[in-house]
């Protein structure tokens, strides 16, 4: 369960990016985060990853008070989350397998477990036959699938995605978002930031619409 309670985020000398935000995403739920550029979508995800600190308020994630989490506990907290980025953030000098395996290595897993779990994750995203390819040899959609495999290989409790279809065309966007929906159906809590209105309408999922640092409609709205 993700719970923003009166969360404010501001940077020194700048306006408030998030202002007394209240938002709840129940465990196992999937929702979309929408809003115009600069509305605070990425900042909200950064707060969830604890890449940024909450200025005021409380942010609870599956019982953990992220807003007061000590630095030394952040890595363990992040290992409970999977994250997908618009620019994939793949390591271009490593093959697909190594990119996905990184998440498991960081979590202290090695050897055969890595082999089997990476293969399984890549099969899930349809890249079972590209395991030893270098990222540069893959299409944009395939690179994003590798990013997704890396995010789900350790079966995280929560999956976050920041504009995962931002660089993809319509049909690829549909495939990628359907993948997220599959993971949601397996019990993962999923929050996807997107500005793709057609996909929002197609998916029919709960939507949190951010504008000027706050929810436009504080209640979850069905599109």
């Amino acid at each position: 369960m993700i719970e923003f309670i009166n969360v404010t985020k501001h940077y020194p000398g700048r306006h408030h990016v998030l202002r007394e935000l209240n938002l709840t995403l129940n465990k196992g739920q999937m929702a979309l985060l929408t809003g115009s550029s600069g509305a605070g979508k990425s900042t909200l995800l950064k707060l969830l990853l604890r890449l940024e600190d909450v200025s005021h308020g409380t942010l609870m994630v599956n019982g953990v008070d992220v807003s007061t989490l000590k630095k030394r506990h952040i890595p363990a907290y992040r290992r409970r989350i999977g994250v997908v980025f618009q620019d994939h953030k793949l390591l271009m000098d490593r093959d697909v397998f190594s990119n996905v395996a990184l998440t498991l290595q960081v979590g202290g897993i090695t050897g055969r477990q890595i082999q089997s779990r990476v293969r399984a994750a890549l099969e899930k995203v349809g890249l079972g036959n590209r395991i030893h390819n270098m990222p540069a040899t893959l299409s944009g959609g395939e690179q994003q699938r590798v990013g997704i495999a890396r995010a789900i290989v350790h079966t995280p409790e929560i999956l976050l995605a920041d504009e995962p279809t931002g660089n993809l065309d319509g049909s690829l966007s549909t495939e990628i978002l359907d993948l997220f929906r599959d993971f949601h159906h397996h019990g993962t809590t999923v929050l996807v930031a997107t500005h793709d209105q057609s996909q929002v309408e197609r998916l029919g999922l709960p939507v949190f619409h951010l504008e000027q640092g706050g929810l436009q409609n504080p209640r979850e709205k069905k599109s």
Partner: protein, 302 residues
């Protein structure tokens, strides 16, 4: 995953990273080796100088002249005390008759001595000391104590040169230490800078690892191993450089020694000293890496 497995993976990762850039790795190791070889070479030179001075130990010679009425017991007890003295290399007793014989032989004054009717020369002890066995002040104290013993009339010694020699050696040793500390800092900086370059090259990897939950130690470990390995190899190379230098110098030293009618074998590093050099070098490499990667992680995890 066991802690050993994690470390093994990090070590393998470090070796692969170094092997991927053989020229850069070699240059770093060479730079470190030369930085280390300089102070260690100076230490070896100082060690050889001390060894050389040890060859001249007979120059630290003290003469203890005995009273004419010194008893046999006084002589025996004094001899025992002298032989047990610190840094004493040799004790030689010259009886009255032997002293007279030597005097006659050296000075050619046989006729004058005969006129005196009796042997005026005292018995004496000639004590040869290692000038570096103790400080010149302690040496002087020891000589004074001997001079106070029963049967001793006077002591004759020239310990000023020992004090001067010890002062020069202390100066050399201090200079080498200062140089060693400065070059050790240099070694840390060389390694730190090298690791900073590695960090810059792997910034994306560090950022992604941090995003997926890597701990500081997970990210830091391969860099520390890189520094450690490069430092250790540089230490071995420095050891080899010193050994080659000494081998190259031995021949001219031999020729010089022959001119002085002696032999002198240059000392390199012993096995233990070499291992200490490699250990310190590895430690400096590790320290440089730790400083560089720590600074970066402070920024990444802030």
């Amino acid at each position: 995953m066991s802690a050993l497995q994690i470390r093994w993976d990090a070590a393998r990762n470090a070796v692969h990273t170094l092997a991927r850039q053989p020229l850069a790795t070699l240059m770093t190791i060479l730079a470190l080796a030369i930085v280390l070889a300089l102070p260690v070479g100076l230490f070896a030179a100082l060690n050889n100088l001390q060894q050389l001075l040890g060859h001249w130990r007979d120059q630290a010679q003290i003469s203890l002249f005995l009273h004419q009425n010194a008893t046999e017991q006084d002589v025996q007890q004094l001899q025992k005390a002298l032989q047990g003295g610190k840094g004493v290399v040799n004790v030689r007793y010259i009886g009255k008759a032997a002293a007279l014989g030597e005097f006659e032989h050296n000075a050619g004054m046989t006729a004058a001595i005969r006129i005196l009717g009796e042997n005026p020369l005292p018995a004496s002890f000639i004590v040869e000391l290692n000038p570096l066995a103790q400080s010149s002040a302690a040496l002087q104290t020891q000589v004074n104590a001997w001079a106070q013993r029963p049967g001793v009339a006077s002591a004759q010694s020239d310990l000023h040169w020992v004090a001067r020699l010890q002062a020069i050696l202390a100066l050399g040793e201090r200079a080498v230490w200062i140089l060693a500390v400065m070059l050790a800092i240099g070694a840390v900086l060389v390694m730190g800078n090298t690791i900073r370059l590695h960090i810059a090259q792997r910034r994306d990897e560090i950022d992604v690892a941090s995003l997926v939950g890597a701990t500081r130690s997970f990210i830091r470990r391969p860099f520390l191993y890189q520094g450690f390995f490069q430092g250790a190899v540089a230490g071995i190379l420095a050891w080899i450089i010193i050994a080659i230098t000494i081998a190259l110098l031995q021949e001219p030293v031999d020729r010089l020694a022959v001119l002085y009618g002696t032999q002198f074998h240059l000392l390199g590093l012993s096995g233990l000293e070499g291992l200490i050099l490699v250990g310190i070098s590895a430690l400096l490499g590790w320290l440089g890496s730790r400083l560089a990667v720590g600074q970066h992680l402070d920024h990444t995890f802030s």
